[in-house]
Amino acid sequence: MHIPDGLLPASVCVAGYAITGGVTWVALKQINKTSNPQVEVPKAALLAAAFFVGSSLSLPVPPVSVHLVLNGLLGIVLGWYAWPAILIGLLLQAILLGHGGVTTLGVHAVMMGIPALLAGQLFQQRQRLGKSLPPKVALGLFSFVAGALGVGISVLIFLALVVFAMPSTLDQSAERGFLTALMVGHIPLIFLEGIFAVLLCFFLLRVKPELLER
């Protein structure tokens, strides 16, 4: 789901930056509501670096292997800090690896960051919404949904952008076929992200439960 420079029209890139500016303002406002936001800065920065590095891991799904996006998990672990973490991760990704781009950074941040925030907020609701369930079941269920939702919404935004970027000369049936293939191709990834989120949350529950509490 990398959108390189030059693919999207300038108006979409500018709109992406405008939305990113707005969401950054909201996220920083929420972060500044905490008693001492600076305490969390090193933690969020190092966990962001760990997510950046960890996204290079590939999960074997015979006969191929799949790279995970991990934005839902970022939302689970970092909450509102997931937004600056994703923004920084995408900037470094564009600079160091050439994935994505500088003009498409805003669009990328919207595509990855907003779903991460939604996933994080949903995961935090597990105490309230899942109180009728046993704690472990609630954790498993909400981590799966949050992990899958993060990448699921990103895929939908990505597809909308692809539709927008497609040339008008493209044959309608070819366009439909391409979009269907793209959507079907991402469904296994959505489930994998959910399963991986469950595995990781149970691991953290065993060894460092405070990482799941915000």
């Binding site: 030059g6 950046f52 050439g98």
Partner: protein, 262 residues
């Protein structure tokens, strides 16, 4: 590990582009990148390449710099637009069996690829001639919140460290048998989740030590350090690269707007 490939993004030098103050350079080159993104006419690409090529030559960055970095992101653009000449458009240029090369698709692919190369090369000029720290200072002086710049600096600082830690952990896992014998998929995934979870734990514990060290050095007890850049020196030091780049960016936009809409 992929992240270590391009750790040497900045190439020291003495060119006018290297000596250009970071703040106007960042703004001017971003304006040029966005101006290039507005291009919708293929006929404008030679002018765009002329501008970007001149800028690259002016920066005195070696050609190997761009050749080494272009192919990897280039694969993404090829993957995204490679099919267009075969499926988009009605004017057939060449046909063999069911394969038909179409003019409109070819033009769309060339336009996207052209914009991609031009924007990426402009980005290389920015990153290749400006130290990362100067870029962050420029961003902070432009009003980017301190929390974001602090986080960026820390993430960048520990990125390579964590990449090395992950490589060591993976090696240890392989030495203990991961990937050598037949294991169920569930076991594979469980191991990878534990590997990633351990990396998160290490980062978390390291962040607590980092925060203690930062507090001891006064972090959070004083307002952020003022920019060391001397505004007068910045104004005097090569104002003309800013003017030339902004004129070039404006010329691209004006030319694009003056052409009939597609």
């Amino acid at each position: 590990m992929a992240v270590s490939l391009h750790a040497d993004v900045y190439i020291p030098g003495q060119s006018a582009v290297h000596r250009w103050a970071a703040r106007p350079k960042l703004l001017s080159l971003l304006a040029l990148m966005f101006a290039i993104a507005t291009v919708r006419h293929l006929g404008l690409l030679p002018w765009v390449f002329g501008v970007v090529g001149s800028l690259y030559l002016w920066s005195q960055l070696p050609l190997t710099y761009v050749w080494r970095r272009l192919p990897y992101p280039g694969l993404f653009i090829v993957a995204m637009v490679g099919l267009l000449p075969w499926i988009s458009g009605e004017t057939i240029l060449w046909q063999w069996s069911i394969l038909a090369l179409r003019l409109e698709g070819l033009q769309a692919a060339a336009l996207i690829a052209g914009r991609f190369v031009a924007i990426l090369t402009t980005g290389f000029v920015l990153l290749g001639t400006t130290p990362f720290l100067s870029l962050l200072e420029a961003m902070r002086s432009l009003g980017i919140p301190t929390l974001l710049t602090d986080m960026t600096l820390l993430t960048y600082r520990y990125l390579f460290d964590l990449a090395n830690q992950l490589a060591t952990m993976r090696q240890a896992m392989q030495l203990r048998g991961y990937g050598h014998s037949r294991q169920t998929l569930q076991r594979h995934w469980g191991w990878l989740a534990a590997l990633f979870g351990s990396l998160l734990l290490r980062s978390y514990e390291q962040s607590q030590r980092v925060y203690s060290a930062m507090r001891l050095r006064g972090y959070g007890q004083h307002p952020p350090r003022a920019m060391t850049t001397d505004a007068g020196a910045e104004r005097d030091s090569l104002a003309w690269p800013t003017i030339l780049t902004l004129v070039a960016a404006a010329s691209v936009v004006i030319w694009e707007l003056s052409l009939p809409s597609l």
